[in-house]
């Protein structure tokens, strides 16, 4: 995979901090700040809560303010997800709870100590509104909180020696580090109010220190969800060069991220290695299924997408950053008006990016504890339009993103315009169309499945990773209205341009056909019109000959309209109508308009129910043909038909054939038809 670097010009920042930062009181001697990844709330605790606790978060409309009794320094504080119960940890032995109603504490605390006298609490986490997990150095304690009774009911206890833990609220995955090195990771999955123990796995450390000490730490391990898969990212730092037995020291000395994928029925497996090409202080954000690695020293970030292809050894895929040296757009803090007045400075202050005070939380939260700001990290796709040097990979990337449709469309139309100078050549366009249509196909499949209304279970099974609901669907209408139609309108029409249009549309149709997507007639029309402008009718003919154009009445009509410039189009049109099952009436009309009355009648006889053939229409055409024998034949045919269907030669009143009956009498008389026919024929 090629590595693409973007120059940092004004418009080219791919990452930005959310415009509305959440401001909170910065950390001071008396103020402690806590962040809860589950509820995404920042707790500012002043004087142990006695002078007030302030809770803010990106998901909250209004902050919550309350007071709690100061019973000592707060070690950790977290709301239950519905904000009905507050948990505060002040000692290493117990956690206190308080019920809330209408964002006001009821003032009665109840406490839950951990099991065993020598046990020390490592931390706790709310996994549901009432399920509470306490992680101690001896094990995992699962409790059900009963707020009405102000007590906790023990559900289950898993015994494990633990160093630290991380929890992913997206998947409900709790990861506990154990062992002297901390490299043995025990995953637990919280599901349906149960905590299930999954298969344990080891993170291999090339040179374990002697004597053993903790060498895998909490902040280097990130459990998350990528493309609906539970994964654990482990950041591995290069081994220090002073390590004595450095035989396995990586030559580059760069850090890497190892991705472990958790499967349902198999132990976690090492699936990807992300080459960071840097080392030092690193932090990870997860955004839109991307892994964004921030490097503090260089003040840059790298973006990885595990769905892009890398170098694989059959088991493990090694990836390089899809985008390296990306920086976050400069951020300006509004300074309160009074302060600005005093200092005569602009009312905005640029904010230090990648500051040492930044703390990164999952999945995309950045907190500057000194400034008192919380942002979420955002991805900006539009600058990618300029990266047309490797369009295929870029489309791979964009199609996996949410909200990328406008960028995809812009990029696509860019490719079409660039054709002359940069040279988006036909095979590349073909591959791009293939990518779009693969997603389009998946989308159609899902639509069909939902229409069939399969039971939910079956549906789940059939949608594997390949037919995941695509983020971006570019359908034929999009391509027509945004790409093809502007192409045919904007440019001055010259031959090269038309040839390019032909190539593009051909490629698009090829791709649609390849993915078994029925092509709509307006796509063909672009192609047909371009061929017509080029005067390449014979080439157009071949397209029809190979049925590369799907049959439809609108196209048959378009072909008929081309007859004056290309006579063979008539043949193509009627052939097409013949293949369409319900177009026999149209064929009859066309034949009649060509004055082929007898052919039309024979065709009608073979294809249309005999009683529904309009006698008047044929007799009129036969009369207009000025050929008495034709008129005679047609007239006789309908008389015979009348006899067969109704038992009488006579025409019905409703058929309005009186004028033709008179015409017949005029030509051939009333009596013996055959003699009068010979007469009239010899006359004519």
């Amino acid at each position: 995979m090629s590595r693409t670097t973007i120059e940092t010009t004004e418009a080219s920042f791919l990452l930005q901090l959310s415009q509305t930062a959440i401001h909170f009181e910065p950390v001071t001697k008396i103020t402690n700040v806590f962040y809860d990844e589950v509820t995404r709330q920042v707790f500012t605790v002043r004087s142990g809560g006695a002078t007030g606790v302030n809770v803010k978060g990106p998901r909250m409309k209004n902050p919550i303010n309350f007071r709690v009794e100061d019973k000592g320094a707060v070690l950790s504080i977290k709301f239950s997800p519905d904000q009905q119960i507050l948990a505060i940890q002040r000692t290493s032995k117990s956690v206190e709870f308080q019920n809330f109603s209408n964002q006001v504490p009821d003032g009665v605390e109840y406490s839950q100590p951990c099991r065993g006298s020598s046990t020390v609490i490592v931390g706790f986490v709310w996994v549901s509104n009432t399920d509470f997990i306490l992680i101690t150095n001896q094990g995992i304690e699962h409790y059900q909180v009963v707020p009405e009774k102000r007590c906790l009911r023990a559900v289950k206890n898993h015994s494990i020696q633990s160093n630290w833990f991380v929890y992913c609220p997206l998947s409900g995955l709790l990861l506990v580090s154990s062992g002297p090195l901390g490299t043995s990771l025990q995953p637990y999955l919280f599901k349906n109010h149960q905590l299930l123990r999954l298969t344990k796995f080891e993170v291999d450390i090339p040179n374990p220190p002697q004597p053993a000490r903790l060498c895998l730490v909490e902040r280097d391990v990130t459990p998350t969800m990528l493309y609906n898969q539970m994964v654990v990212l482990v950041l591995k730092h290069p081994i220090k060069p002073n390590s004595t037995v450095g035989r396995e020291t990586p030559a580059s000395g760069n850090s890497e991220i190892v991705v472990y994928t958790l499967c349902k029925d198999a132990p976690p497996r090492k699936t990807h290695v992300l080459q960071l090409e840097t080392s030092g202080k690193l932090a990870v954000s997860i955004l839109d299924n991307l892994i964004i690695v921030h490097h503090q020293a260089s003040k840059t970030s790298s973006i990885f997408d595990i769905n892009l292809t890398g170098e694989s050894d059959g088991r493990v895929m090694t990836l390089h950053p899809f985008l390296a040296s990306v920086t976050i757009r400069p951020y300006f803090l509004n300074i309160p008006a009074s302060a600005a007045m005093l200092n005569h400075e602009p009312s905005q202050m640029s904010c230090e990016l990648y500051s040492p005070n930044w703390v990164f939380f999952q999945s995309n939260i950045i907190i500057d504890a000194l400034l008192g700001c919380l942002w979420s990290l955002e991805l900006v796709l539009t600058p990618l339009i300029d990266m047309v040097d490797n369009p295929c990979e870029l489309f791979d990337f964009l199609l996996q993103r949410t909200e990328s449709k406008s960028t995809v469309m812009a990029l696509l139309s860019r490719l079409m315009c660039y054709s002359h100078s940069v040279g988006a050549d036909v095979p590349v366009l073909g591959r791009v169309f293939d990518k779009l249509n693969e997603a389009y196909r998946n989308h159609l499949d899902i639509e069909i499945q939902s229409q069939i209304a399969m039971p939910a279970g079956a549906f789940q099974l059939s949608t594997g990773s390949s037919s995941r609901r695509p983020n971006v669907v570019i359908d034929q209408t999009d391509v027509y209205s945004r790409i093809l139609s502007p192409m045919t309108e904007s440019k001055p029409m010259d031959e090269t341009h038309d040839r390019f249009i032909v190539a593009v549309v051909n490629e698009y149709i090829r791709s649609l056909v390849q993915y078994h997507i029925p092509v709509q007639h307006f796509i063909y029309e672009v192609l047909i019109e371009a061929f017509a402008r080029l005067g390449q009718f014979y080439q157009l003919h071949q397209l029809f000959q190979y049925h590369a154009v799907a049959d439809s009445k609108p196209l048959a009509c378009l072909l008929l309209s081309l007859e004056s410039v290309y006579p063979a189009a008539y043949q193509l049109a009627v052939d097409m109508l013949k293949r369409i099952s319900n177009a026999n009436e149209e064929i009859v009309e066309i034949l009649l308009s060509k004055n082929k009355v007898l052919s039309a009648l024979r065709f009608a006889r073979d294809t249309i129910p005999v009683e529904s053939i309009s006698a008047r229409k044929f007799l009129e055409a036969a009369q207009n043909s000025q050929d008495p024998s034709v008129f005679y034949g047609v007239y006789q045919y309908f008389q015979q038909r009348n006899r067969r269907v109704r038992g009488s030669l006579a025409f019905l009143k409703g058929e309005h054939c009186e004028v033709y009956i008179r015409h017949f009498k005029l030509l051939f008389g009333d009596g013996d038809c055959s003699t009068s026919l010979t007469d009239s024929l010899s006359m004519g």
């Binding site: 190539a503 590369a548 063979a568 052939d575």
Partner: protein, 472 residues
């Protein structure tokens, strides 16, 4: 091949091209002869023939309703005339041999539809349509490779000098062309001069189109591309008239000639060895788009890999160096190889499918669509690199194909319709013309009735021609 020596029915007596617009002094009239075959004919005889031809044409003009005379029948010869360009005339005379042998092949006609009686031409059927086509075709091929006759004229006071260049070109071209003229076994197929398209599914076809776009985009000097698989056309960017000639040239001359080539040779025209630096170039020039006032002179590069042939047309004004061919080879080679597997598979599937459909030898057909020049025949057997061969029971061979030609001539006089006839060799031939589509079906079945034949034909149509509108 069924035409053994004793059956050889026609031979070329002479073939000549002469100028009719320039005035030469009485004793120098032979200078108006542009080309004359046989070469060793005395000037006197040459002059006599030309004089006679000029007289016949002049004479026939006095009756002229539309244009001039095209053929003249005598007891022992057939003479064909063509005025390809103003001021030029060409003619060929064919000798009818072995009359007795042919006599036995006389046909009886059985007509189902109102018909003018087919004239049974004394003892022998030659088909003016077929031989006239040969003559006209010989001019078209000349024009394709040499340009128009007029374009070869030099501006000069001396009429003789004016024609000098043209005479050289005609001698160069016709001396080779006449050797290859399929006089003995010419049949209706030579009159149609159709194109065989490779049947394939739309996806493979679109892939071929995509390859063509790629090549034309990568090498903008290429004005047009034609793709064949073995002897069948998959795609052509040429106009109909041109592709008809090019196709004929490829399948009857270039491909047969390259059978002996090393299989490694990819450029059938172009450098003999693309990897050697000093290799010689052999690139024919062709004149395309004759309907334009100035036809396009193009270089024809024929590149073949794995059975797939690409014909690339590049303006004659562009100089092609060795590097061009190397990069062409690099671009085309891998893509064609990838494509050919697809195409070959298609061809195989279709082949088995079609042989299942048509089944036995007892029913065969010849189909030609004048609108797109598509030609298909199970009366003939096509062997890549060889001229097609008739494949009926030997006794019925001439009989059947000649009947088809008869019917074709009938159609040209009265338009769309259907005719069923029974030949003396007990074969039934159904001819049909519907909107410029010719279909001739031959059913050889013992004691078949007309009803059976119609049923057979209907069955065949429902299988093979279900996608097109063939009117009753």
């Amino acid at each position: 091949m069924t035409n053994s020596e004793d059956e050889k029915s026609y031979s070329l007596v002479n073939f000549f091209v002469f100028d009719t617009s320039r005035n030469f002094p009485e004793d120098e009239e032979y200078k108006s002869i542009v080309y004359y075959y046989p070469k060793d004919t005395s000037k006197d005889s040459q002059m006599k023939e030309i004089g006679r031809t000029a007289a016949i044409l002049k004479f026939s003009q006095t009756f002229g309703t539309s244009g001039s005379c095209h053929s003249l029948h005598t007891r022992k010869t057939r003479q064909y005339f063509n005025e390809p360009e103003p001021g030029f005339c060409m003619a060929m005379v064919i000798n009818l041999n072995k009359i007795k042998k042919i006599k036995s092949n006389k046909v009886t006609l059985y007509q189902t539809v109102k018909l003018p009686t087919v004239p049974i031409d004394n003892d022998i059927e030659t088909h003016d349509k077929v031989f006239n086509s040969l003559l006209v075709h010989s001019y078209h091929m000349f024009r394709l490779f040499m340009g128009t006759m007029t374009s070869a004229l030099k501006v000069s006071d001396q009429p003789e000098e004016e024609l000098e260049q043209l005479k050289l070109r005609a001698a160069y071209f016709y001396s080779k062309h006449l050797q290859m003229m399929p006089l003995e076994d010419a049949d209706l197929a030579d009159a149609f001069l159709g194109i065989q398209f490779l049947p394939m599914d739309k996806l493979s076809f679109l892939k071929v189109r995509s390859l063509v776009s790629h090549v034309e985009q990568t090498f903008p000097c290429i004005t047009s591309t034609t793709v064949l698989y073995q002897d069948q056309i998959v795609w052509t960017g040429l106009c109909q008239d041109d592709v008809q000639l090019i196709y004929n040239y490829l399948t009857t001359k270039l491909f047969p000639a390259s059978i002996t080539l090393n299989t490694e040779t990819r450029f059938l025209t172009g450098p003999a060895d693309v990897h050697g630096l000093s290799s010689e170039m052999r690139i024919p020039h062709v004149f395309l788009n004759q309907s334009q006032t100035v036809p396009d002179e193009c270089q024809l590069i024929v590149y073949r890999v794995a059975g797939v042939t690409m014909c690339l047309f590049i303006s004659a004004s562009i100089e092609l160096d060795h590097e061009f061919f190397v990069s062409l080879d690099l671009t085309l080679g891998p893509r064609i190889v990838a494509l050919s597997a697809d195409v070959a598979e298609q061809a195989l599937v279709r082949k088995t499918a079609s042989s299942l459909n048509t089944g036995t030898d007892s029913i065969r057909f010849l189909y030609f669509n004048q609108w797109n020049m598509a030609f298909k025949s199970t009366l003939h057997q096509s062997i890549p690199g060889h001229r097609r061969v008739l494949q009926c029971q030997p006794s019925a061979n001439n009989d059947v194909i000649k009947t088809c030609a008869d019917l074709c001539e009938d159609f040209s006089s009265f338009g769309d319709g259907e005719i069923v006839v029974k030949t003396k060799s007990d074969a039934w031939v159904l001819g049909k013309l519907s909107n410029k589509r010719h279909l001739y079906v031959v059913v050889t079945r013992k004691n078949a009735e007309l009803v059976d034949i119609c049923d057979e034909v209907r069955r065949l149509r429902n299988i093979l021609f279900k996608d097109i509108l063939l009117l009753e």
